[in-house]
Amino acid sequence: MLNPIEAGLPTRPRRVLVVEDDPVSRTFLRLTLQKRGYHVIPVETVAAAQRQFNDEELDRFDCVISDYWMPDHTGLDLLRWLKTKDPCLATIILTGEGEKNLVTESLRLGAADFLEKPVNVQKLLAALDKATGQTAHQRRMARSDSAVKTLGRTQRWMMQSDRNTGGNFFSEVCFYPHAEAGGDFLGHFPVTPEVHCCLLTDVSGHDLQAAYISAYFHGIFHGMLLRAAPLPEIFGHFNEFLVRDWNQTEQLQVQNAIGTSLAAAALLLDSRQQLASVILCGAPVPIYVSPDGRAQALGESGGPPLGWFPDLEIRTTVHSIGGGGTIYWWTDGLADLAEAQGVHPLCLAFALQQAKERALKLPLLDEAKDDILFAAIFLPAADVEVGLLQPLLVENYRGDQDYEVDEFAAAWRRNLKLALPELSEMVEHDILLAMREAVLNAMKHGCARQAEKTVRVQASYHRLQRLLRVWVEDPGSGHQFDFAAHVDHTAQALIDEHRGLMFIMNLAHAVKFERNGATVIMEFQL
């Protein structure tokens, strides 16, 4: 049970300001309320009431009872004034019998209650009890709201770039909680100068409890990491805590709630061995981008979050991160919003970063249904600039999906529109047409239109060079021929062969081939 302080109730006698110009009525109210333990301050006019509030802090009062008709001002004038000074302080308005229009107006302006004169004592006491309770409740809510906002500011501050990163790594973070504070959090834990650990968490819910659970796990994670506990052991320990302790609490069982779950991912980065060890429990897969812009998923998606199953299998995968690069990472709030917008999460992340750099807020963030956290972790290497070529999309298509190419192209267009809104119609046309040709070519020749084969498409943007680089790869063996000699013959003799290649060569500003042409790399100067 809450004590009076926790409940927002005063521990002193409740103080009531009575504003009444009629001396008989004023005395009646004073004596009646004093007899019930209230501390009453009677005044005759609105001006005197305002002076009283100017002399004392408003939060020393628990309620105001004001007559409507007074010589200098009305009770509604006072009510309006009080709402600007302390919107939490409840006011009861006294009206004459049958003055319904005044009652309506009083309630519209936020009066806690109204009483008709002559005042009935029982009704007065009931109204006063309700009004003082309302004041206490409103003040408690205001304090909670302020505390949540403070928490939200603290979370944002803690996740600012250059705050937590240590060792040879640095990071950039975009964090947009759905409410003031959220359950998404990214922590950095330097282990040695060469080894760095990052923890990304996303707790179900957007409330203070979610923020607390997230922070609690980060604390446990840090503590166990300092004791050199292996990452799977730390995850297993917290899973057990959620399953066996937290989600078994009486409160949750009474509410028949499914309990708290925590999507989490950990990255252990070793710059000396150039390896990244990854654990994923219900969290999106991080994407590693090498300095030349090639993207690679660090692990496989899927798997339940912590807190669902007691016998959760926690696996670590190890990946090469040789030569530096960047790791892009996000929580599912970003993935969900990207899906709703029909764009790739990497593209949305890029747009968020761009907006953040310009101190703008993307309007589509208003449509987010969850906390959004995105992080870029930069892995510097000698003589290599990282993070300049940023991926906008990475897609895999089945080899037999050529009939869906219009939908793919529509998605590429949405991504381009979001990431590069100033792109000219002509360049957009050339990019989309060249991508279309390359993908259809890869499906037809590289995959022989077989469903089990995959065409991989990636687009990355170089911010300084204003260059879009697109990779289209198929699993085929490629095809080598002399394009320059072929092109004249194709045009003159009106033959169909290699016409797609002619498109690609003419639309892109530069084209490179790898693996005998099974990988096409197109560059577009924007």
Binding site: H429, M502, F503, N506
Partner: protein, 108 residues
Amino acid sequence: MKTYLDPKTGILTVTLKGDLVSTAADQVRGQMTALLETPTSPDATWKLFRLDLVTAKMVDSVGLNFIITILKAVQKNGAKMQILYTNQNVHRTFLFTRLDQHIELVKI
């Protein structure tokens, strides 16, 4: 796909709606083949095949091959071919594939 034969001028106009890309070409290929292979009566002979691509904003390689298939059939009929377009990107595509050397391009 809409067709209109003007008997006075001998112009057969075929209008395609939207982009002429792989998926769209596949949808009208059968109709177009039937149109070009159907023998015409002597009083309804066309001398100019006009392909109306005024609403197209994109023509891909499959669409271009489709045009060339039409061109070959038109030439076999002893007629000429003309393309109507408005979009500048479509025009650029015709230029870099050198289609302008074989077909009259008319900007609307």
